[in-house]
Symmetry: C2
Subunit: 356 residues, 2 copies
């Protein structure tokens, strides 16, 4: 893909030292990390939080002889518009949190849902969203067990925001986390990249042309549980959401103190997503996904894992895209289609705001 000449999204002004919140603080990239490092971590520091995963694992009570841990995660959902091809804020809120819990190796067992509603929201819209949440929760097999509803005045929210938190039980036999990638490991992605971000953009009417791209938003728990049952020795699971594949791999490279090299020709894309990205000047490697997982594991299991993923509904286009290397530069490198190698940096500012 020779058009991939952008060296990561460009941030027009140096916003990292701003005194006010800007949209880039919600990008999932460098600015979000800055905010977390400078504002949240100094106050909330504890081993579970600073581990840097999208979940936290809590040991069972001391009295328990059982080899399990509790995994928890949370995500607020602010996607605009509320409905888009392939999904809506409700399906996103359920799948996003189910997937974050699953990335620990856990079997998710419950979700909570907190709604912030804007005065004037049509109740029929809320009903549609709730129905979609219910269907997604049924598909995942994870019930919504606790909820909360708040209302703010017209103009003080944008229709509807949903926070979900989720929890599940992790068997102690699994040791999965962003810090566990090892040199020699293979890197798999479970399907085509960039679908969600482009689908949401299309729903906003911002593309300027017609497209048939649907969001990939889906619960990945059944697929991952099937994988782990056959191949328990997985080192890293992570869903490349905000910031896309490139930013997520960078997070893992830093956490694990390794380089990760991926091959441009191996990355699965939908042609329509590539076309849209070309026309808009986006790099699809930075576009959000909501139904994909990066799997990093010893390379001897990679073929077996690939077959298992490809046998699953949400893994049919899974591919081995790269490997983990010893050089501890904590970088992500892309071997391009034309034979060169370039550094894939972290997303800096905000390329596509309010994508999840």
């Amino acid at each position: 893909m020779s058009n991939l000449t952008i060296e990561g999204p460009v941030c027009p002004v140096p916003l990292r030292h701003t005194t006010h919140i800007v949209m880039g603080h919600g990008s999932g990239g460098k600015m979000t990390q800055d905010l977390v490092d400078k504002v949240f971590k100094p106050h909330f520091s504890n081993p579970a939080l600073t581990a840097g995963n999208d979940f936290a694992c809590i040991p069972s009570p001391a009295a328990s002889p059982v080899g399990i841990r509790l995994a928890v995660s949370t995500d607020s959902h602010i996607v605009a518009p509320l409905f888009f091809p392939g999904g809506d804020i409700g399906r996103l809120a359920v799948c996003g949190t189910v997937n974050d819990v699953v990335m620990s190796g856990a079997v998710p067992v419950g979700l909570t849902a907190g709604f912030i509603l804007e005065e004037g929201l049509e109740i029929s819209i809320l009903e549609k969203v709730v129905e979609s949440m219910s269907l997604s929760a049924q598909e995942a097999g994870v019930p919504i067990v606790a909820g909360d509803t708040k209302v703010v005045e017209k103009g003080k929210a944008d229709g509807l925001f949903i926070n979900t938190s989720g929890y599940g039980w992790v068997d102690d036999k699994y040791h999965i986390g962003g810090e566990l990638a090892k040199p020699g490991d293979a890197v798999i992605v479970s399907g085509t990249i960039g679908d969600h971000g482009i689908a949401v953009l299309a729903a906003r009417g911002d593309l300027g042309f017609e497209t048939t791209i649907s969001s990939d938003v889906a619960p990945l728990n059944h697929m991952i549980q099937t994988l782990l049952a056959e191949v328990p020795d997985v080192h890293v699971l992570r869903d490349p959401t905000r910031g896309g594949l490139a930013t997520t791999l960078n997070e893992i490279a830093v956490q694990s103190n390794v380089n990760i090299t991926i091959d441009e020709t191996a990355i699965p894309y939908q042609p329509a997503v590539l076309t849209a990205c070309e026309m808009l000047g986006f790099d699809p490697l930075y576009v959000a996904n909501e139904g994909k997982v990066i799997v990093i594991m010893p390379s001897q299991y990679a073929r077996k894992a690939l077959k298992i993923l490809q046998s699953q509904k949400y893994g049919q286009n899974a591919a081995i895209i790269g490997c983990v290397e010893k050089t501890p530069e904590k970088r992500v490198l892309l071997n391009t289609r034309i034979g060169s190698t370039r550094i894939l940096d972290v997303l800096s500012g905000e390329m596509l705001p309010r994508i999840c």
Copy 2:
């Protein structure tokens, strides 16, 4: 208190059948219950959710021989203004969820925090809130183990919303829930009523007069764990937040299929709160509290429980205020100061919006 002549807050129009969200849907009263019953419950029905408590209890995995359950809860916080006498949105977000988890009898072990930030928010304000969350979490001894940050455009949120969810372990020896009040039980409240709502109103400058009232927002876990260690046979614990003491007692009366009678002269108030309510025409029984708990238990343990509560920092003004009766009218009755008895109904619309 002869001025308590209002028959519950008046709702100016019959809003329960509206097609759009109105502020009353966030009241915690009848309209919120309507929304939950008509929109959420038909889709999210499961035993944990329909139990009607502010927490859900999940059994440990089947393999576990340990007598514990997992308790979870969630709350979104939208209080305006962000800072008020005695607290701020950060302290509220931590204490509100710690307390909801504790009401199951659980020892809370972790919180998640999801932030929705408005573009343009001063980062120094966020830092103050985060510091306050940290101090409150330290006081409670419950770490924030997972977080999420989202940003929306200026004008699409009101500065800062925080969702927290919380987790804790409940020992199987406790059987505590809103459905477990029994005829003959005593009703205790752990301190003065209405402080939080009036403090927030004062911070808005809406009182029209000066007051020194501070919010009671506080983590109640240490007090309740001390109580349960000495008096394990507690039937109901619930914090009277949105909708106040009257609405919360009504929820319990319906869940347990009992009447609850309380004595006006026994209810502890701060004189300044009573004065403010008199001047504003509010009934303090419907004003929110954020650091109080209703304890319902067999009357033979009531004196002991009262002593324990009064020995604790946040229970010094605890009082026995009423009893549970056999007549299954599911009503809350107030024996007034002047010798009459009146029905305390559920809060209908919205008396004080955005109080938590």
